[in-house]
């Protein structure tokens, strides 16, 4: 292991401490930070606009001013780069490139001393993890409020509150935020905090890249949300952005095309970072077969991200080229192939479903095992089934296209591979319930969410079997049955596991304990209103209500009214969570280092962990889930220069 050599303690290796430039005003304006980020974004925008206008004038292109071009290039490429340079994300690399002396890496970017440090470029994986989580929950609230707006519209047939374009925009931005700004990065946030600790590593492999990948995320989020203010309103072709509808959309569509690039780049960088960290920075003795399943889950997820994400980037670039450069990738009159978009899009977006689920599988394995006080049932098969899902996940994308008019012969093979994914997924579900069997079950809030996940995800998985079967899919595709299915998978599935993870690691992240009673209220209210919201959607869908409609047949009025009421309760249940988390973070009771008596490494250090995680590199000597095995231990830690002591304590 290379960890000792690469990450010495700061005092030992770098006695010279970096001093930031003096002078408060000067420093505020020219020093790295949000202020410099904002003015540099504006500066880059103006420079790029002048460059575009200059070039267009030089070649005498008419008209001189094209809003979409300026918006896309100056607004969504140059300005974000200026912002990133301004906050200081590139400082180290730029100094290195131009030959200026680079700042000696004294790890002064590590740790957070006050809340202000969370608004700076920080290279500490624990700070970045919390930056991720707070940002993603912000966008979760924004996306959730949008959902409540369009649910209000759907409470009755006919149009009441919003017009069709606004409705389509709300639906599209809701889904886009939830996928790209909540579920995917929230898992990245949890993993950012937990995975290096679980591995016994002092940080991620590339801390500066880690910081950069976080700061790309708010850029994408701001793009998606701000699309509402431009002429024509937000992008309204759905989060799937099918061509050619997307190509004829107003200006807002560009925000989707470009926002996905930034979110995708963030995702790819993080995934590369996880892969290198997991492969090279495991503590001595931490073999692959001793890694906790959360690490396994993030390993497989990262592989999916790295392989698949470039495809959605490509699909959105092609659409933007069609819009701006008048290429004809998906324009039939120009020889384009409309279904090509869907093939490329789903080649990412089906694996994306697993990107949004596998980390949750990891979280649930940790929670169920430590709360049942039993080893994860069939650990190796659990890890192998993750690999099985990873591999099969790339061979099923066209099941989204059974009614799309693609080549007929593709349907049956894609149906078979789709159904086969039920096998590794089933193994995981059965292994979780077998882990419960004869355990000593602590029904804490994270455990409630984990068990809620197991049952709700089973429903989502089973409705997935219906949709995997081509004939049923032909009847149910593009209806509210799909909406029900994805919310059972992504809300009852992914979001429940995110809540489980937040509650489970809250004491580790903040050093304080959340309120258990409020946590249970949160779970039960969420669980009941979630089912009341999404279960009836199966019904209206099968009965004939298509998805993505602002108006619908009067026959579905009563049920939709019920769904809307339930969705408002679901929204309200989040308030309990927010209240609990904020209050507990500020003045909750101080948490013990290991409140769950779990065995994995993150629990063997203080809460919150020390700035470099481990004062001594732990020596891993066994599996992570050896509950109930007399004398078994996961790792041995040396505390200072004293005698090694055994873990778990």
């Amino acid at each position: 292991m290379t960890t000792t050599a690469d990450h010495p303690t700061p005092e030992a290796a770098y006695p010279a401490h970096y001093e930031p430039p003096r002078g408060p005003t000067w420093r505020l304006f020219f020093g790295p930070g949000l202020v410099r980020g904002l003015w540099m974004a504006a500066l880059f925008f103006v420079l790029a606009t002048l460059l575009i206008l200059g070039l267009r004038w030089w070649w005498s292109w008419e008209p001189l001013w094209l809003t979409e071009v300026v918006l896309a290039m100056a607004g969504m490429v140059a300005a974000p780069v200026g912002f990133l340079a301004g906050i200081g994300a590139f400082d180290y690399w730029l100094h290195y490139i131009v030959g200026r002396p680079t700042r000696p890496e004294d790890h002064s970017g590590h740790g957070a001393r006050s809340w202000k440090d969370y608004f700076r470029v920080n290279t500490d994986h624990k700070v970045i993890g919390i930056q991720y989580l707070v940002t993603t929950f912000f966008f979760f609230v924004v996306g959730g409020l949008m959902a409540m707006l369009f649910r209000a519209e759907l409470a009755q047939p006919g149009l009441q509150f919003v017009d069709s374009q606004t409705f389509n925009g709300l639906v599209s931005v809701h889904a886009t935020l939830m996928i790209f700004l909540f579920i995917i990065p929230a898992f990245a946030g949890i993993a950012n905090f937990v995975v290096p600790l679980m591995l016994g590593a002092p940080d991620m492999a590339f801390p500066r890249l880690n910081a950069l990948s976080f700061w790309l995320l708010p850029i994408a989020g701001v793009m998606f949300v701000s699309s509402f203010v431009v002429q024509g309103g937000a992008f309204g072709a759905g989060w799937t952005g099918y061509a050619p509808l997307a190509e004829g959309q107003p200006l807002g569509q560009t925000f989707f095309n470009m926002g996905v690039q930034w979110a995708g780049a963030s995702s790819i960088m993080t995934a590369l970072n996880f892969l290198v960290t997991i492969i090279t920075m495991r503590a001595p003795g931490m073999t692959f077969w001793r890694m906790p399943l959360l690490v396994w889950a993030n390993f497989t997820t990262s592989l999916l991200v790295v392989i698949a994400t470039p495809f959605i980037a490509g699909s959105q670039f092609f659409v933007m080229f069609d819009r701006i450069l008048h290429t004809s990738f998906f324009v039939p009159e120009g020889g384009g192939y409309v279904l090509g978009y869907q093939h490329i899009f789903w080649f990412y977006s089906h694996p994306a479903v697993y990107i949004m689920m596998l980390p949750g599988f990891g979280i649930v394995s940790e929670v169920i095992s430590s709360m049942s006080r039993k080893p994860v049932f069939g650990y190796r098969l659990m890890a192998l089934s993750l690999i099985g899902i990873l591999v099969l996940g790339f061979s099923v994308w066209a099941h989204h296209m059974f009614v799309a008019g693609m080549a007929d012969w593709l349907r049956v093979p894609m149906m078979i591979t789709t159904l086969l994914i039920a096998i590794p997924t089933g193994i995981k579900v059965f292994s979780w319930v077998a882990t419960l069997w004869r355990g000593r079950i602590h029904l804490t809030t994270p455990m409630l969410f984990a068990l809620g996940f197991v049952t709700m995800f089973t429903i989502g998985g089973l409705s997935g079997i219906y949709l995997g079967s081509v004939p049923i899919d032909i009847a149910a595709s593009d209806t509210y049955f799909i909406v029900a299915h994805i919310h059972y998978v992504l809300f009852g599935g992914s979001v429940f596991t995110i809540f489980a993870g937040i509650y489970f690691w809250f004491p580790k992240m903040t050093g304080r304990m959340y309120d258990e009673r409020l946590g249970k209220w949160h779970f039960w209210l969420t669980f009941v209103s979630f089912n009341a919201t999404f279960f009836p959607m199966h019904y209206v869908g099968l009965r004939g209500m298509p998805r993505r409609v602002s108006d619908y047949s009067a026959a579905f009025g009563d049920l939709n009214f019920l769904i809307t009421i339930a969705s408002f309760v679901l929204g309200a249940s989040f308030v309990i969570f927010a209240y609990n988390i904020v209050l507990s973070w500020v003045r909750g009771p101080i948490a013990a280092a290991n409140p769950w008596r779990a065995h994995s490494l993150e629990w063997q250090v203080s809460s919150p962990p020390p700035i470099f995680n481990f004062d001594e590199i732990p020596q891993v000597v066994g599996g992570p889930y050896e509950y109930g095995v007399p004398g078994a231990r996961h790792a041995v830690m040396k505390v200072g220069a004293g005698e090694p002591h055994e873990v778990p304590a």
Binding site: N168, A237, Y242, P244, L245, G248, P332, V338, L339, S372, K374, P375, F377, R380, L381, V403, A404, G405, D408, R411, M415, L419, A422, I423, G426, I427, F430, S431, A434, L436, W437, R438, R440, I441, H442, L443, T444, V454, T455, T458, L462, Y466, S469, V470, P471, I472, I474, A475, S477, L542, G544, P546, R547, R548, S550, D551, Y552, R597, E626, Y627
Partner: protein, 234 residues
């Protein structure tokens, strides 16, 4: 142990009965008005029976375990160190494999039957345009109508296409659906087996008027159909 298993089975049966009640008390599927949908409903029920079994199994073990083995917060003992059971793991790999393959085979058979065009089906073009449907009867001098009228019992082949963006031709009671894609032609077969009025719905988001892109479908007797078509030709 034996008593425990009996209790678990009892929990499972209660859950299965409840879930089955939900599945049969509500009428989840619209009335079938085509032979194709009759067959699809068969696959639906086949999948439903399997789903009820799996869901009851999983949720009963969860409920039973929590009921039986929940401990107070201050309990600090560990459970038995059971790491796995190869036999069980083989069972829950093999049994789902058999079940999903069974669903796959049934689905493939129904798909093939639903895609088999018999002798001379009635040819109708369904053309999508923002935001209306147009039906062209190729066998009858390209009679064009905004309303879909079909003779009962007559196998009909829809050739769908679009003049602008993607739409999706769907009559919920026919259970068949096909995207109308600009630049290519796609086909789907429907054999109406029940007279009545049904809704033609656009199922693929196609822009501002997507929600209102609807048309009427009437399934009538052969004689009424002939009369209607002659009126249109006149």
């Amino acid at each position: 142990m034996r008593r425990g298993i009996a209790q678990l089975v009892a929990v499972g049966v209660v859950i299965a009965v409840l879930v089955t009640a939900v599945a049969v008390v509500f009428q989840w599927l619209p009335t079938s008005a085509s032979e194709e949908f009759d067959r699809i409903q068969g696959v639906y029920w086949f999948a439903t029976i399997i789903s009820i079994g799996i869901f009851s199994l999983v949720s009963s073990v969860v409920v039973y375990s929590v009921w039986k083995w929940r401990v107070p917060d201050d309990d600090d003992a560990d459970g038995p160190p059971i790491h796995g059971h190869t036999g069980l793991e083989i069972v829950w790999t093999a049994v789902p494999a058999v079940l999903v393959i069974a669903i796959g085979v049934v689905s493939a058979v129904v798909l093939a039957r639903n895609g088999e065009a018999g002798n001379r089906p009635l040819e109708v073009q369904a053309i999508g345009q923002q935001f209306a449907w147009k039906f062209v009867y190729s066998d009858y001098d390209d009679v064009t109508s905004g309303q879909l009228v079909l003779p009962v019992g007559q196998e009909t082949r829809f050739t769908t296409s679009s003049v602008d963006v993607i739409h999706s031709f769907w009559v919920p009671n026919f259970g068949q659906k096909m995207d109308a894609v600009p630049g290519i032609e796609t086909t789907i077969l429907v054999t109406p087996d029940r007279t009545g009025e049904f809704a033609v719905v656009c199922a693929e988001l196609c822009g501002l008027g997507h929600a209102t892109m609807r048309a009427k479908a009437r399934v009538v007797t052969r004689a009424e159909f002939e009369r209607w078509i002659q009126e249109q030709q006149a």
